[in-house]
């Protein structure tokens, strides 16, 4: 019997594992390996060059720029979208009027392809013609501005788009968590004469902690993973002011065809994600309790 379970277990697993290894573990391993090799050129095969790619990396100004961008992008997107998501969920879960319509409005951007979202917003941002400039000149009589063409404003403009796209998605997780909280707690708090604010701060927020953490981790991963809108809206410009790490990897690999260096950049990405995973592991273990 036990012997048969062995065989069946492996038999059932094999198809999934083959693809998993072929397209996740093998390429991840190869990326690390490839970061120590030069890019093959024509008849010249890849050579082992030790840490040279990493030396280039440290000296590469664009890399640092992109990493800084990604940092600001994450910092600009995550707290606001998570806070908005919580607010949305609290509202939609309450006994207000018009919650169904509001929920649709909040969640709809999540269903759209990021490419489509970028197209819609690009139209908003078009200098002189887009809605933002129409409002500026129509109401305030201000001159046209090019938010996406200015290195100082472009990242902010992109952050707004990411928040719009993501907040509704995170709202769902809060909504699920809120619905699993027994109503007895609220009643007890009311009987004890606790204010809504007190209830929110002392009962709801601690209970929502696991969700907040889960959502935040997802938000961080998304801030590295989602770059589609950059292609449509800015192409990383002006002067790399809106380029993010994954977008830069794409450029290095598929525009300049420096696959060795692209592998090195991917290693940075893997390291960042691993740090995140380790952090998540410890945070989840210590700070947070499951129901």
């Amino acid at each position: 019997m036990h012997r048969r379970e062995w065989v069946y277990g492996w038999l059932f697993l094999t198809p999934a594992l083959v693809f998993l290894f072929a397209f996740t573990h093998y390429p991840a391993f190869n990326t690390i390996l490839g970061s120590f090799f030069s890019t093959p050129r024509g008849r010249k095969p890849a050579e082992f060059i030790g840490l040279e790619n990493y030396r280039d990396l440290v000296a590469d100004e664009v890399f640092w720029k992109v990493l800084t961008n990604n940092f600001w992008f994450a910092l600009g997107t995550i707290p606001i979208s998570v806070a908005l998501a919580l607010l949305m969920a609290l509202w939609v879960n309450g006994r207000l009027r018009g919650t169904t319509l509001s929920r649709v409005a909040f969640f709809a951007p999540t269903v759209l392809p990021l490419i489509a979202v970028a197209n819609i917003w690009l139209f908003f941002y078009t200098p002189g013609f887009g809605l933002i400039d129409q409002l500026r000149s129509g109401i305030f009589g201000l001159p046209a501005i090019n938010l996406l063409g200015n290195p100082d404003t472009v990242l902010g403009a992109v952050i707004v788009v990411a928040i719009w796209k993501e907040a509704g998605f995170f709202m769902i997780f809060y909504l699920a968590a809120l619905q699993s909280i027994p109503p007895v707690l609220r009643e007890a708090a009311e009987i004890e004469g606790a204010s809504s604010f007190y209830y929110l701060r002392r009962v709801l927020f601690p209970l929502l902690m696991p969700t907040t953490l889960f959502v935040s981790i997802n938000a961080v991963i998304n801030s590295f993973r989602l770059v589609d809108h950059i292609f449509v809206m800015t192409d990383g410009g002006p002067d790399n002011a809106s380029s993010l790490l994954l977008f830069y990897i794409y450029e290095v690999a598929f525009k300049y065809w420096q696959t060795g260096y692209a592998a090195t950049l991917t290693v940075v990405m893997l390291v960042l994600l691993s740090i995140l995973a380790i952090g998540q592991f410890f945070l989840f273990d210590r700070k947070v309790h499951y129901q």
Binding site: L13, F23, G34, S102, T110, L112, F231, Y250, S274
Partner: protein
């Protein structure tokens, strides 16, 4: 009657309602605006007159300007292929993890979970090499291959399978059911809500995916709608915004429509798939 219920709404409730409506309006605005421009002639792109004539011209123009029919077909084939393969592979793997004891089980399971972090999305360089070595560049199969063994799907289904009581197994075994029969008659039917949830998440994810399809495809015959849309709107030939917006809505239309019709299921599915 019902005196306690029919209180005058409190000030706080009013305030919250107004704030919620404001945010909801703000959130809906970009989409509503895109819909406005897509259904009106170009002259009304920034003029909001209630009497503005409605038109489908923009959609007709967009449809004729690029092979969207083909793009839709490609996306449809892609999404179907991925979903079918994911269901098969993930079901088998999840069942093995949930019900069989075999050496290496926990190590293999953590390797599966690793994919939640190291997604194929970021391994574009190496996966491109693999696909090229397989001679599959510029095929629809190539777009799907990296995603069909989904760590997330395996995890989700395993959780569901583990919550199914063992007694059902034993009963089915006594009746002479094989493992496949057990899976087919007991486990899959009981996990139907999870399949629905995972299916919706997977379809919308792969319908919307862009970067990998952009890299691996380079012809009309293989491009999904997202890449098609970006190619269409990137042309600097001065295509009118209303036409681009029409194309944008068109590509997201099926998902958006599905979402509006099955709003509740959608939200519940995303919730179910999100709870871990």
């Amino acid at each position: 009657m019902n005196l306690t219920r029919r209180r005058v709404p409190e000030f706080g409730v009013m305030l919250n309602s107004v704030a919620m409506w404001t945010l909801a309006t703000l959130w809906a605005l970009p989409l509503l605006y895109a819909i406005w421009t897509a259904f009106h002639p170009a002259a009304y792109e920034t003029r909001f007159v209630i009497t503005a004539p409605l038109t489908l011209d923009n959609f007709v123009k967009a449809w004729n300007a690029a092979p969207f029919a083909r793009y839709f077909l490609n996306t449809f084939m892609l999404v179907t292929m991925i979903l079918a393969s994911q269901f098969i592979l993930c079901t088998l793997a999840a069942f093995a993890f949930a019900r069989f004891r075999f050496p290496g089980r926990s190590i293999l399971f953590s390797l599966v979970l690793l994919q939640l972090l190291v997604m194929p999305d970021i391994l574009i360089v190496e996966n491109y090499k693999t696909i090229r070595a397989l001679g599959l560049v510029d095929t629809i199969v190539a777009i799907g291959l990296p995603y069909i063994a989904s760590g997330f799907g395996i995890f989700l289904l395993r959780q569901t399978f583990m919550s199914i009581p063992r007694e059902l197994d034993d009963a089915a075994r006594i009746e002479g059911c094989s493992f496949i029969g057990l899976l087919w008659r007991v486990y899959i039917p009981l996990a139907r809500p999870t399949y629905l949830a995972y299916g919706l998440v997977s379809v919308s994810h792969h319908w919307n995916n862009f970067l990998w399809p952009l890299i691996i495809t380079n012809s009309v015959e293989t491009r999904p709608v997202t890449v098609g849309l970006s190619v269409f709107s990137a042309v600097d030939a001065g295509i009118e915004w209303s036409v681009i917006n029409a194309a944008t809505l068109m590509t997201s239309g099926p998902l958006l429509l599905g979402f509006l019709l099955f709003q509740r299921q959608f939200v519940q599915s995303f919730m179910r798939a999100g709870i871990r």
